[in-house]
Symmetry: C2
Subunit: 270 residues, 2 copies
């Protein structure tokens, strides 16, 4: 009996990107940070790694897995536009580029398009991981969950998101039901605007400028408002979004293996 | 025997500001955030409070002390320029303003001038509080301290600055001798530039955007560089500067009592 030939479909880096945009029904953005940061659009993809930050660890693990395409939500080179000249003669950046070249790994940032998915993959992924999908509405940052206390909410987030430490502002006994979910680093203006317009019991963020949102929430609490802040950490707050994207995308590109590698919390807490 | 009349010299808010600039030998800045944020320049000062952030607690404590002038290093209204319209219809900001008006308290931001002092009051104050004055040089962010480990350095900072929690990146056993001292929020570009140009063993910052300095330091460490990061927290990292300013200024305005009130760490760490 003759063996049946199995022909796997192959994709270039650009074809993978095009497939994400097509399957996500995403309009092409004229201005976006979602560009190819390393490698070549014509390279045939041997495997895909998804992550939050394409750290040196993530790159080395991708190479070990023989995956030559990293789809990362956040910058590769320590600034929003991945400008190589943001800091002149940046030797760490240079060495990171050399490592990517050595392993012939391409990196595409998937940030603006990721948030443009309906639902926003980051918010949906976080809500899913926290078992809050019954309360999640596409396009809304507000969720009404069954009533709990701030302390219980923090414990739930630490367990469900596998986060070891968080920073909070607020009375641990404060009731929490109306939650504003803003993972990542949306900046103080959007965070404070959401606090003012939505009046949530708690604002859950990835990170926040301390002289903006943090002092606003501290003052709000001191003025007697029942509004708390939970700062999860940037990487860990958005990682569930890249996990969810992986689940969503894998069936659409069955011939290429996608592995999610978490960037993890960069900090040791002392 | 007739009682001798004691005439105390009185100062208006503007006269206090002018005295700081004169005694500090400070050139007038044409562009500065150091403006009067609340109250009137002509108000006669009954007492001065210095602090990092003029929180609701600090304002109430100032009122209790009958001090009607707060000199604060950082913004009053949650954005660098203290624009009231940074977030439209900000009810917390409105209530804070009403509290200041109720107690007739003036607030002056002392940020750009504070850093323009020679030495920069914030860096000097922090070095003083950490017992590092023998290693401190005016105008330099680098200090060479007696060799220690990262872990011991963290313990020393927590004790000397009375900080309960910090976040670090780096091997706790890593030797630390060359320190870059950047309290406050200088931003990723300046923090990473300092790391690249000075190659310190450790960068000590107040706060830092996680997608910038934090990921840079994580990658640098993963590439084998011996560079660590200590994130002290914004308020607690610069508070020693306002303490030092108080010590420096009080003898120059002996007839007005100056009280330093620490803003303290806004977070509960869980």
């Amino acid at each position: 009996m003759a063996e049946k030939a199995v022909t796997k479909k192959s994709y270039t880096v650009q074809e993978v990107i095009d497939l994400v945009l097509k399957e996500g029904k995403l309009d092409i953005l004229k201005e976006t940070v979602d560009t190819i940061k390393a490698g070549n659009p014509d390279t045939v993809v041997t495997g895909i790694v998804t992550t939050m930050f394409p750290t040196i660890s993530v790159i080395k693990e991708a190479a070990r897995l023989n995956a030559n395409f990293i789809i990362a939500h956040e910058p590769s080179f320590y600034n929003h536009n991945d400008s190589p000249d943001w800091v002149k003669n940046n030797a760490v950046l240079k060495e990171k580029r050399q490592l990517l070249e050595k392993h012939k790994i391409a990196v595409w940032r998937f940030h603006d398009y990721c948030h443009a998915l309906k639902p926003d993959a980051v918010n949906y992924g976080l809500a899913k991981k926290a078992n809050w999908l019954p309360y999640f509405k596409t396009g809304e940052v507000m969720l009404t969950i069954p009533g709990t206390t701030l302390q219980e909410l923090v414990a739930h987030l630490k367990t469900s998101l596998k986060i070891s430490h968080v920073r909070i502002i607020g009375d641990p006994e404060q009731p929490c039901e109306r939650i504003a979910l803003l993972p990542g680093a949306w900046g103080g203006q959007r965070q404070v605007s959401t606090a003012e317009s939505e009046e949530p019991d708690v604002l859950i963020v990835g990170e926040s400028p301390e002289w903006e949102t943090v002092e606003y929430i501290r003052d709000a609490g001191l003025l007697g408002r029942k509004i708390a802040l939970i700062v999860l950490g940037h990487a860990v707050s958005e990682e569930p979004g890249m996990e969810w994207f992986t689940e969503w995308f894998q069936p659409k590109i069955a011939d290429v293996k996608i592995t999610h590698i978490a960037s993890k919390d960069p900090f040791t807490w002392l």
